[in-house]
Symmetry: C2
Subunit: 161 residues, 2 copies
DNA sequence: CAATTTTAGTTGCTTTTTACTACCAAATAT
DNA sequence: ATATTTGGTAGTAAAAAGCAACTAAAATTG
């Protein structure tokens, strides 16, 4: 990414770190259990310098942490932090969406399942406080306390219905 | 993005279309109600040629559709298709994650709310079939019918516990 | 309806990023 | 002690992003 988004918007903020072709694949691999540089390399197929660069920013962002496992010197493993583990919801949402919308019916590539039961996870759906499913049109963005003046203006320009 | 991921993995598949700094911002804007080229341009801050390129691929992917609103000739609006609208879950997941993990406490920039009640959406969480919340470690990836041989091998290499 | 302005791009150029290959130092294995 | 693996860095060519200028068609306006 050549320039950072200046917008104070969670989506833009997210894209500043994850808005490229590889970073989420590294996260996927971390969830799959990869910890070593070479594992990430092999399982994603990315170039070494790109992986090196992405690992750095993920460390900087506190999404991964580096553990020294060297017996007679430095040798590292990369592990998800709590912040990183909390990305599971995003990964599940993307996995389910792409399985359903990008792959042919009955041709899901990877299903996420509960370890205990082995059953496929039920589909994540936005709901209101009463548990009622919400369609996209029933959801409204509201500026929060951290929104910039520009963001507030933009958000408030959205018709309330 | 300079090369497409070859992996048959929903995350990789998703990244082939959305793995860049701008595409999800265009989707965000579509949810916020932008429909015209100029609106997307102004509200995202992206370059014209990049927007043009991204709109094309989103049309190709069936995420957006183009509606001719010209009175005496062609003039277009871009609208989310059903496929596009179903991205709402991904957007909600990202919005909630970034609000919580990337912005300072109490400094949320944009909260997604139910239109009917005005209340903030409850946090999306992966659950099992009984509605029990699942931590990242309680979720397991399983190869589906569409997985390539390589993907199957990779997925099956993940320890079942 | 003629002239002006706006919209929605496209084109060409420069800068930045990616992809690829070669190289290297430290850690580990033999 | 030597060989091999691991985890990078450096250099370079190709691709993509960013930016400004240009354009054609549509909409507005007088």
């Amino acid at each position: 990414m050549t320039k950072k988004h200046a917008q104070t918007c969670p989506i833009a903020e997210f894209l500043n770190t994850f808005g490229d072709a590889w970073t989420l694949l590294v996260i996927r691999e971390a969830f799959y259990g990869s910890t070593r540089f070479g594992e990430f390399l092999k399982n994603t197929g990315m170039a070494k310098n790109i992986l090196s660069n992405r690992l750095s920013t993920l460390l900087d962002q506190g999404v991964l942490r580096r553990v020294d496992i060297g017996e007679r010197g430095a040798r590292y493993e990369y592990h998800l932090t709590d912040k990183g583990e909390s990305l599971i919801t995003v990964l599940v949402a993307i996995n389910q969406w792409a399985n359903e919308q990008m792959l042919a019916k009955g041709r899901e590539a990877v299903n996420l399942c509960a370890r205990s039961s082995g059953r496929k996870l039920p589909k994540l759906v936005p709901r209101d406080h009463n548990g009622k499913e919400l369609a996209a049109g029933e959801i409204l963005a509201k500026a929060g306390p951290g929104a910039s003046a520009a963001a507030k203006k933009r958000i408030n320009a959205i018709p309330a219905s």
